[in-house]
C-alpha cells in the first residue's frame, strides 16, 4: 500500500532529515514514523497531505510534489486557454516572500503579477467561496427543515452538518470515521466548485472550447494538490482543476520571471467569475466559513437585514469554540437556536465526532479545518526561515 503514487504529496528527504522529531509533534494524524536521531518517513496511508510537517521542519527536509513545470508549459502553449483562481489566504501571505510583513494585503499586486505572467483570465477563488455558502448554507437549511419535520425535505441528510472545504479533513474522515460521512456537507470545496463552473459556464460565456481550457489554482495548501487529482472531480466533462500550485510556488514563478512585485500597481480580478465579498475573504481563517454561512443563513431565513454582520463569538484561536445563534425563521414562524461549533487542528476533532456518532452532540453546524489557525497557516504558505536562525 505504501507505493509511491502521484497522490502522495508530502515527502521527507532522508539525506537532509536530522531526526529531530519536531515533525511528529505537528502531524495531526501520527503519520510520521521515526524517533529522535532516526531518519523519519511518512506513512501515506495515514498522511492527509496537510504539509504542517513541511512548514515546521527546521532543516527544510520535507517537500511537496510540484507541478510548476507543467504549468509553465501550459502558459507557453498557444493552444491552451489558461485561467487561474487564487484562494483568500494567499493574499495576506504572498508578500512575505518579497520582504513584507505577515498579514500585508497584496491582493492588487497579486492580480497584476498574474496578468503579467500571461494567464488568459485572472479569477478569484473567493467567488467560489460565495457560491459554496449559497449551496452549503441551503443544504444546512434543508437539513434543519427535515429535522423539524417540514414536508418536502425528507431526502436531506442528518444533523449536525460538517463543513467540507478542507481536503485534509475529508481524507481524515474517510480514513478514520466513515460513519460520519453522511454528516459532511455534500457541497464541494470552493476550489472544485470553481473548476466545474470555469469549464462550463465561463467557457460558454467566453466562447472558449472547454477542452482547451486549462484551469490553475493557487492555494495556501498542499492537500489541495491531492484534492484536484481525486478522480470524481470531472463534473464539467473534463478534469475540473488541472493543476494546483502553492503560495510559495507562485512567489517562485514571479521571481523567476523577474517581475518587480513590490512596485506593481494594484489591479483587480477579471469579471464574470472573479468578484467576491468579505464573507468569502474570511474563508481563509478558522471560524470564517462559519461566520460567512451565518451572515447568509440569518438573512435568508429571517428575511431581515443584519444590523451588525460580525459574529465575534466564532472568532479567535481557541482550538474548539462554540456559539448559539438565535435565528427567527420566517417560514416556520418560530425562533430557532442554532448551535455552532468551530474546530481547527484535527487532533481536536475526534471527541466531537464521537459525540455525534453516539447521538450526544448538541450542535447543528460544525466547521472543521485541519491547520491551526485555518488556511492562512496552511502547508503551502511561506516558510518563516528566520524562526530557526
Amino acid at each position: 500500500m505504501s507505493t509511491f503514487t502521484s497522490r502522495d504529496i508530502i515527502h521527507v528527504d532522508p539525506s537532509i532529515c536530522k531526526g529531530c522529531d519536531h515533525c511528529t509533534s505537528v502531524c495531526p494524524t501520527r503519520a510520521i514514523h521515526g524517533t529522535i536521531g532516526e531518519k523519519h518517513r511518512i506513512d501515506h496511508r495515514k498522511c492527509v497531505n496537510c504539509g504542517q510537517c513541511l512548514i515546521n521542519c527546521p532543516f527544510g527536509a520535507i517537500s511537496d510534489l510540484s507541478a510548476l513545470d507543467t504549468l509553465v508549459q501550459a502558459l507557453n502553449d498557444p493552444n491552451k486557454y489558461v485561467v487561474i483562481q487564487v484562494a483568500p489566504a494567499v493574499r495576506v501571505a504572498l508578500g512575505e516572500e518579497f520582504g513584507m510583513q505577515p498579514g500585508t494585503n497584496v491582493k492588487g499586486k497579486m492580480f497584476a503579477a498574474l496578468r503579467q505572467l500571461g494567464f488568459d483570465q485572472v479569477y478569484d477563488t473567493e467567488f467560489a467561496a460565495d457560491l459554496t455558502i449559497m449551496e452549503e448554507g441551503t443544504e444546512l437549511i434543508h437539513r434543519i427543515y427535515n429535522y423539524a419535520g417540514v414536508a418536502g425535505f425528507e431526502e436531506s441528510g442528518p444533523l449536525p452538518q460538517f463543513t467540507s472545504c478542507c481536503p485534509a479533513w475529508i481524507k481524515y474522515a474517510e480514513d478514520r470515521y466513515p460513519h460520519i460521512l453522511p454528516h459532511i456537507s455534500s457541497a464541494k470545496s470552493p476550489q472544485q466548485m470553481f473548476g466545474a463552473i470555469a469549464k462550463t459556464y465561463a467557457a460558454q460565456k467566453l466562447d472558449v472550447d472547454p477542452a482547451k481550457m486549462y484551469s490553475v489554482s493557487v492555494m495556501p495548501c498542499t492537500a489541495k494538490k491531492y484534492e484536484c487529482d481525486r478522480p470524481e472531480f470531472i463534473a464539467s466533462g473534463y478534469k475540473d482543476v488541472d493543476v494546483v500550485i502553492t503560495t510559495r510556488e507562485l512567489a517562485n514563478l514571479i521571481k523567476q520571471q523577474g517581475i518587480d512585485f513590490r512596485n506593481l500597481n494594484d489591479e483587480e480580478a477579471d469579471r464574470l467569475i472573479g468578484s467576491s465579498t468579505g464573507a468569502a475573504t474570511i474563508f481563509g481563517v478558522t471560524g470564517g466559513v462559519m461566520e460567512a454561512a451565518l451572515r447568509t443563513a440569518y438573512e435568508l431565513l429571517s428575511g431581515k437585514t443584519l444590523g451588525k454582520i460580525e459574529f465575534k463569538k466564532v472568532r479567535g484561536l481557541k482550538p474548539i469554540r462554540e456559539a448559539t445563534v438565535e435565528i427567527p425563521v420566517k417560514d416556520l414562524g418560530v425562533t430557532v437556536p442554532v448551535n455552532v461549533c468551530i474546530v481547527h487542528g484535527l487532533k481536536h476533532v475526534n471527541g466531537i465526532i464521537e459525540d455525534v456518532l453516539a447521538g450526544r452532540s448538541k450542535y447543528h453546524f460544525i466547521e472543521v479545518m485541519n491547520c491551526p489557525g485555518g488556511c492562512i497557516n496552511g502547508g503551502g504558505q511561506p516558510i518563516r526561515h528566520e524562526m530557526y536562525a
Binding site: 527546521p58 449551496e135 475529508i170 474522515a173 463552473i197 468569502a280
Partner: protein, 119 residues
C-alpha cells in the same frame, strides 16, 4: 572490596561512557526542544498577523455577504437555475456537489454516464 566490585552493575569505564552518552543526548534534546518552542511561538505571531490581515480585508469590502455577490446572482439566473436564484438545483447538484468514501466510484460512473449537456 572484591564483594563490592562484583555487586556493582557498571565498571568505572562503562559508567563514564554511559553518562557521557546521556549528557550529550540531553543537550541535543534541549536544543531541539528550544528550536521547536521558539518556532511555535514565532509561527503563532505570524498566524495572528495573517488572521488580522483577512479580517481587515473583509471590513474594506463593499459587499460582505455571499448572497449579495452580483456575479453569484447572475450565475444562478443565467445558468444554474434559469430565471431564479435556487441553490441545490439539478444543475447545481451535478456541478457543485459530491460524495465521499465508498460512494465515490458510483459517483464517477454516474458522471461518465450522464455528462453535463454540451455547452
Amino acid at each position: 572490596m572484591k564483594i563490592l566490585k562484583e555487586s556493582s552493575v557498571f565498571t568505572r569505564r562503562q559508567f563514564l561512557k554511559g553518562s557521557g552518552v546521556l549528557v550529550i543526548s540531553a543537550v541535543f534534546m534541549g536544543i531541539f526542544a528550544k528550536v521547536g518552542f521558539d518556532a511555535v511561538a514565532a509561527q503563532e505571531d505570524v498566524v495572528q498577523k495573517r488572521v488580522a490581515g483577512l479580517y481587515s480585508l473583509d471590513e474594506k469590502m463593499t459587499i460582505r455577504k455571499s448572497h449579495e455577490n452580483p456575479e453569484i446572482i447572475q450565475l444562478y439566473k443565467d445558468f444554474l437555475s434559469p430565471g431564479e436564484i435556487k441553490p441545490v438545483s439539478d444543475k447545481a447538484h451535478h456541478l457543485l456537489h459530491t460524495r465521499y468514501g465508498e460512494e465515490v466510484p458510483g459517483l464517477i460512473a454516474e458522471l461518465k454516464k450522464h455528462p453535463i449537456e454540451a455547452a
